[in-house]
């Protein structure tokens, strides 16, 4: 059976959900071991075991949490001198991709990023990756050993299967020269009212809103529906709203019951983050906008006129 590693990302002592998502897939493919680095790893090990990890390789050195990417790269590279997994799975998240990128470069092997699925086929590792704007899906066979594959968040549902992992304390192996990019402070900016990833309803806005002052129309509808507001990369880049609201390939992946896209054209960057919604409603002035082709209901019209009326109607319904 193939030996598979899952890089279980920790953030300030907390196990991130991506590790459990990856385990859900990995344990269908082979013998799974998780690597957990940083404070909180020992506590995470129990959870990782319940989700199917047979062994958890861990170290709680503070350097893993205090410095960007390099300490974790050192530790993984050191482990790979004596261990030989066939596949190492990382989440396609900000922190994990930096570790995976450095590791691949250090090992001199390539990696496959942005995968939506990974399997073992004909003795090799095969990943499915969105291609050409997400309209196509390419099947990639990894050429390197170990294969390093980065999987998009929320590609798999975490599942507890019971079980206890053997805990192996490994050498941190952090080089002195790797304590460089230090996180000296963490600031939390105004939090969201309803977490975007968990919201039943997401209302997102794009350039079609015309200007940042109109984004409140999106927020008001989201609030009336008890949901969360999201945004396209275009208006995040333009500085209208913070990055925390970005839905898409490098933003958040959401799977709400209802997704309402207002003034969003539907570029792949955006749609890969929301096409898993049960119902998609799109409002766009342009009848040719690609988003209308994937919507269950497409309204060709002006979001600036429709949103306030819709908010009013929702409020009236909920109040009455």
């Amino acid at each position: 059976m193939a030996k598979i590693w899952v890089y279980a990302e920790l953030n300030q002592g907390r196990l991130m959900p991506i590790g459990l998502e990856l385990l859900a897939r990995a344990r269908q493919l082979g013998e799974v071991e998780a690597v957990a680095l940083g404070p909180g790893a020992r506590e995470a090990a129990a959870t990782l075991g319940r989700h199917g990890a047979k062994r958890v390789l861990l170290n709680e050195d503070a350097a893993f949490g205090d410095y960007v990417a390099e300490p974790a790269t050192d530790c993984l590279a050191a482990l790979l001198r004596s261990e030989s997994p066939e596949l190492i799975l990382f989440g396609f998240t900000t922190d994990s991709r930096e570790v995976a990128g450095r590791l691949a470069a250090r090992l001199g092997i390539g990696l496959i990023s942005n995968a939506m699925d990974v399997t073992v086929a004909d003795g090799g590792i095969v990943a499915r990756v969105p291609y050409f704007g997400g309209a196509k899906v390419a099947t990639y066979r990894a050429n390197a050993r170990p294969a390093i594959v980065l999987v998009r968040p929320r590609s798999f549902e975490p599942t507890e299967v019971g079980g206890e992992a053997e805990v192996v304390e490994v050498d941190a192996a952090v080089g002195e020269g790797s304590r460089r990019a230090r996180i000296v402070e963490r600031r939390v900016e105004a939090g969201e009212k309803v977490k975007l990833e968990d919201a039943e309803v997401v209302v997102s806005g794009g350039r079609g809103l015309g200007g940042p002052e109109n984004f409140r129309l999106v927020e008001e509808l989201a609030e009336a529906l008890g949901g969360a507001a999201g945004a396209s990369r275009a208006i995040v880049d333009a500085g209208w709203v913070p990055y925390a609201l970005q839905v898409g390939q490098t933003g958040k992946t959401v799977r709400p019951n209802v997704y309402i896209a207002a003034g969003i054209s539907g570029a792949m960057q955006h749609t890969v983050g929301m096409k898993g919604a049960k119902v998609i409603v799109a409002i766009n002035k342009d009848p040719e906008a690609p988003i209308l082709k994937m919507a269950d209901l497409g309204v060709v019209g002006d979001a600036l006129k429709i949103l306030p009326k819709l908010t009013e109607a929702v409020r009236a319904r909920k109040g009455g």
Binding site: V68, A69, E70, T94, R97, V99, A100, G101, A104, A105, G108, I109, G110, I112, S113, N114, F132, G134, A135, K136, V137, T139, Y140, A142, N143, A144, A181, R182, I183, E185, E189, G191, V201, L225, G227, V236, D237, A238, Y243, Q249, T250, V258, K275, V279, V281, I283, L292, M294, A295, D296, L297, G298, V299, V300, K305, I306, L310, A313, V314, R317
Partner: protein, 253 residues
Amino acid sequence: MKIVVTVKQVPDPNTPQALEADHTIARDRDVVLDPGDECGVEIGLQLKEAHGGEVVLVSMGPERARDAIRKGLSMGADRAIHITDPALAGADALLTARALAAAIGPESPDLVICATESYDGSTGMVPPMLAELLGLPQLTFAKRVEVADGRVTVHRQTEDGYQVVEAEAPALVTVTAAIAEPRYASLRGIMAARSKEIKTLGLADLGVEVGQPAETIEGVVDAESRTQGEIVEDDGSIGVEKIMSVLQAARVL
């Protein structure tokens, strides 16, 4: 301070993509300097203006990538290195990073600035690979960059706010589009760019060999697409009515 900014030419994000009959991406689209890289050039120029020094652009791409390089030079960068070689067509992230590292290394820059991710690939894998190959710390996802007394400090964007991350120079920084509004090239800048040096290097000049690519494409199929549902033209009331009935059916009211 010597600052290297990586720049890339990408298909114009404002024109639609097209596929050829054989599923390859049509190459006749308009190309532009990656909008994310414009922000990288801008912050590089601002740092030069504050601390003195030089801004060097490094780009990998076909002959016509020169237009993107010229754009960066007309914004105010001092000179450029253009890595171009037929063997680099379709290069994966690691080969790209190796070629860039081979060109950037001898420059011994104090700061390497990359966009967090490109507009076309959007995978952001090249910068961490490049940092590793150059032996530099990486300060990523910066929405703010400051350099003082040889220390580089960034505000690294996170899900719920930002981290303050710092390292001694030399370092590699990746910047988000929120970092700065790129300047327009002035007429004088455009004229001046014509006489600025663009050094062209091939793989042999760089001593880089094309290794095994990360993957072999086994097939390309249509994505499971959502089927188009009902389309209505809003007349002032039908849009809201239809949306309300969808919300009702989905039990979110």
